[in-house]
């Protein structure tokens, strides 16, 4: 078996008496989409926050490409190849679509301290940004103000910014959030092609998308992974049905 790109073991975090992450073990192997599902309040968002460095765990380790990143801040993890997308689009709304993509490209170069040369005259940055926009189908809207994009297009731009980082792993927090049926299908098709670039840890509520995309699914309930395995096994798992899927019929 190949070495996992992202390897989480024994991750534990509690707020007072509330255990939000209860010795979580998770891994992400090359080429796969690993979905994390669970009911509201299961601790999915705090899990992502710990993986990406916004929140420090009480115990456990997070390894990225074999390197222990548990103590590293968000931006160091990003530089090591972790690309996160946000549940609520985190984009510079006053800027153009291209500028948002350029920001990611700039992060990937690690050299933003040039104060005088116009950013748009840097051909490498532009190419990276435009390639990513092209990939998600937003190249024609590159010059638009981000605030003028539709909700679905902003979700696509979120993914494009992550793409510009040329990451080793994606961590996506509900990329389908708020998308209609058509938008959801487009996003599903996009993510399906992305796994070959880098594996995706996908936290998602949309079960159609999860079962269409995931190679493995882990089910998080009250901070604990109660089941983990291929989609068919998860669908058949009695505990999962009771805790979660059963609710939705």
């Amino acid at each position: 078996m190949t070495e996992p790109v992202l390897d989480i073991s024994g991750l534990t975090k509690s707020f007072g008496a509330l255990v939000v992450s209860d010795s979580i073990d998770l891994s992400l192997r090359p080429g796969e989409i690993h979905a994390v599902i669970g009911p509201n309040g299961a601790g999915k968002t705090t899990l992502i926050a710990q993986i990406c460095g916004a929140l420090a765990p009480d115990a456990g380790t997070i390894r990225l490409r074999g390197q222990d990143v548990t103590a590293l801040p968000t931006r160091a993890r990003a530089r090591l190849g972790l690309a996160r997308t946000f549940q609520i689009s985190a984009l510079a709304m006053e800027d153009t679509v291209l500028q948002n993509a350029l920001l990611g490209a700039l992060g990937a170069t690690g050299n933003p301290w040039r104060l005088f040369r116009p950013v748009l005259s840097d051909r490498d940055l532009r190419q990276t940004a435009e390639a990513a926009l092209d990939r998600v189908g937003l190249l024609e809207k590159a010059a638009m103000r981000t605030a003028d994009l539709s909700h679905g297009e902003r979700r696509q731009l979120e993914v494009a910014v992550a793409l510009t980082l040329r990451p080793a792993a994606f961590v996506m927090d509900e990329p389908m959030a708020g998308l209609g049926a058509e938008g959801g299908q487009k996003m599903t098709a996009l993510l399906d092609t992305l796994r070959h670039e880098a594996p995706i840890l996908l936290v998602e509520h949309d079960m159609d998308a999860v079962f269409a995309l995931a190679d493995r699914i882990s089910v998080l309930v009250y901070g604990k992974i109660i089941a983990s395995g291929p989609p068919d096994a998860i669908r058949a798992d009695a505990a999962v049905r009771e805790a979660y899927l059963g609710d939705e019929g």
């Binding site: 931006r75 510079a92 006053e94 800027d95 291209l98 920001l103 040039r114 748009l120 910014v161």
Partner: protein, 327 residues
């Protein structure tokens, strides 16, 4: 050219044309007013970098304005009284040379901005405003009690400092000097806004967590721009002191910080020429309305209220429409 381009060009034309006319018509007082406006504009261009681009509402930019002023005051005071500034292991003398004074003013204000920035950028919002205000008050009361340099009465400098090749006592020549420096600061701001650094800063103001997740250090970007911002306002302070041939603790007062902020808001936050438009308008109102009534600030207040409520882009925004994203 965009509409904002025409507005900016009109401003530049006025800032060249009016003083020239005043010079030919023998109206030195008008030139002095224009010089005052240009120096205020320079101070506000500095603040606009922190406020407009970096999103840092600094209520303490008078610190840098005052430091620039006292850099001039102290150096010139020692030079005119033939007192060494430091006479120990080596000798440092005062100076009446503008380039040296400017360099000292820029360096001192940049260092102060670094220190204040390091401490206050841990906070944001109201706390940031309060901390920067507190620093301003510290400097204000310190200079009031600093009797070696005039305390509350300040320092008078008898003759304006010199610049190689120019007669700075001639109003139009001193004006040209100040105007050139303003243009240089505007050019710098323009370049920074379009640079990779500017892109990072712009995004940090809007979505700081995004900037971190692409691996960039937004906090450090804010600190760097705060230092540049302080240095520019410091340079303006040195020029202001030279214009008046006088420095006093009022340069450090929170009224001064407020006025610099008013220039920016009046003209248009984050607009390249916003601070220029704001400062010109302020000085014009101060002069015209100040003649009518001692309480002319009432009109200023009403105008400011109108701008904040109905024209967030300030005067420049009002004339030029919505800001265009740089392309």
């Amino acid at each position: 050219m965009s509409r904002e381009g025409y507005v900016n060009a009109a401003l530049v034309a006025a800032l060249i044309g009016v003083p020239l006319w005043a010079h030919l018509a023998g109206e030195p007082f008008t030139i002095t007013l224009a010089t005052r406006a240009v120096i205020f504009a320079l101070a506000a261009v500095g603040l606009n970098l922190a406020l407009g681009l970096g999103g840092m509402v600094s209520f303490g930019h008078a610190v840098f304005f005052g430091l620039g002023g006292y850099a001039m005051g102290i150096l010139a005071h020692h030079a005119q009284n033939f007192l060494p500034l430091y006479d120990g292991l080596f000798l440092i003398e005062g100076t009446k040379s503008m380039p040296v004074i400017w360099l000292v003013a820029i360096t001192v204000s940049a260092l102060a901005a670094l220190l204040i920035g390091l401490l206050s950028l841990r906070t944001s919002g109201v706390y940031f405003i309060m901390i920067t205000l507190a620093f301003g008050q510290m400097f204000y009361y310190f200079t009031i009690s600093w009797s070696a340099y005039g305390g509350e009465d300040g320092l008078s400098i008898w003759v304006r400092n010199g610049f190689p090749g120019l007669n700075t006592l001639d109003p139009i020549q001193f004006y040209a000097l100040c105007f050139t420096l303003l243009c240089a600061a505007l050019w710098l701001t323009h370049r920074i806004a379009r640079s990779p650094f500017g892109l990072m800063l712009n995004a940090t103001r809007q979505v700081p967590h995004r900037v971190e997740t692409v691996g960039l250090d937004g906090q450090r970007a804010k600190l760097v721009v705060f230092v540049i911002s302080g240095a520019i306002t410091g340079l303006a302070g040195a020029l202001f002191a030279d214009l008046n041939r006088f420095v006093s603790p009022t340069m450090f007062s929170w009224h001064m910080s407020g006025e610099i902020m008013i220039f920016v808001i009046l003209g248009g936050v984050a607009r390249l020429f916003g601070p220029v438009a704001g400062a010109v308008l302020f000085v014009a109102m101060e002069h015209v309305l100040g003649d009518l009534s001692d309480y002319w600030h009432i009109y200023l207040g009403a105008l400011l209220l109108g701008i904040v409520l109905f024209a967030r882009g300030g005067v420049v925004g009002l004339l030029a429409g919505r800001a265009k994203s740089h392309d």
